[in-house]
Amino acid sequence: MTLTVTDLSVTRGALPVLSGVSFAIVPGEALILRGPNGIGKTTLLRTVAGLQPAYAGSIAGAEDQIAYAAHADGLKPTLSTRENLKFWAQIFGVKDVTHRVSEALADFDLETLADRPAANLSAGQKRRLGLARLGVTGRPIWIMDEPTVSLDTSSVQRFAEVVQNHLQSGGSAMIATHIDLGLSGTELDLTSYKTAPQQLDDFDGAFL
């Protein structure tokens, strides 16, 4: 399923930050978002994930296709690694819960930590668990916001492999990141989409 974004404008705190963003992500490809801090990468990702409404433009092919991984991993400290994954698999209603969970554990080298409470994981291990969550959702489009934060070099390598496998099996991904993951796909620099400031005298409904 192709994700098509046309002429999208996104707002942060009622102010448009990016406008006229258009792209398409076909299965098997990844879109890497680039741009300086504060340009609106997170806002764009949240809008595409359906967490906030678009200011203008359209998003097609996103409904019930997206697994979203934010800065926060949504882990419960008192549940074990396996229980955390199992919960998300159940919430997303996949059929073979146990199988998918053990697959995801293997993908991110978490098998030895499977029964440890998430509270006792290191920051990098938590991040790996948060990313492993994407795999158990069964959703084809992965949207990731700075996924490699607090991962070491070998974990980043491993993560890149998992995403590459996901792409090869017909999935797609949209990633905001500063490092080069060597994935097949296109890069999109958001700097050119930055919304131009409006005229001050144009005192309209947005108070600007």
């Binding site: 705190g13 009622a14 102010l15 930050v17 400031p197 409006q198 001050l200 005192f203 309209d204 409904g205 947005a206 108070f207 600007l208």
Partner: protein, 243 residues
Amino acid sequence: MSFWEYANPRKFLTTSERVLPLVWGLAAITTLVGLVWGFFFTPDDFRMGSTVKIIFLHVPSALMAINAWFMMLLASIIWIVRRHHVSALAAKAAAPVGAIMTVIALVTGAIWGQPMWGTWWEWDPRLTSFLVLFLFYLGYIALWEAIEDPDTAADLTSILCLVGSVFAVLSRYAVLFWNQGLHQGASLSLDKEENIADVFSNPLYVCMVGFALLFLALVLYRTGTEIRLRRMKALIARERLEG
């Protein structure tokens, strides 16, 4: 020309600026005339003595306390349906005015209750309902103050106003059921024989109009303030965005 043109903040500001002096003036004159008439030129009631003069404050403020909430409800619905910013800001502007009106109604009622019922406070259904109404006003104002993003605040307070209205009505029935009460029936009504005498009702009508005009003036002025505050925030946010 459509009424909705005033939903444009700039249009609202210029128009309200033009009519406000008139509304302030009318409000001041009517309220003053009503209160002076009521205070100096009405006889004492045979039963309540001079305390009857309190109704010229008590009844109009109670009326406006309820009407202010109705206005907020209406403005909230307009915001939810049509998303006119001015509407949401008008609701925000009306809340403190409504809260003060509620306090006036409660305080005048309590002071009047002291010689009449022999107690400052009675858990009478009407007094209790007003106390609950006051709590609703407090919650509503506190929610506006607590939320940073103005659109989020407008959305959340509108929904609180809708839900709160339903529960306020429920509370009214619950309180009626819970205590039948000492409070007299409505002071003014169209079909009752025991309507209060004309000597009292005429200045009372003037006071009610005066309070309504005062409410209008306050809300128009405060909405203007809220619009400016909103624009100020937007400008500051934009400056920050430009770095």
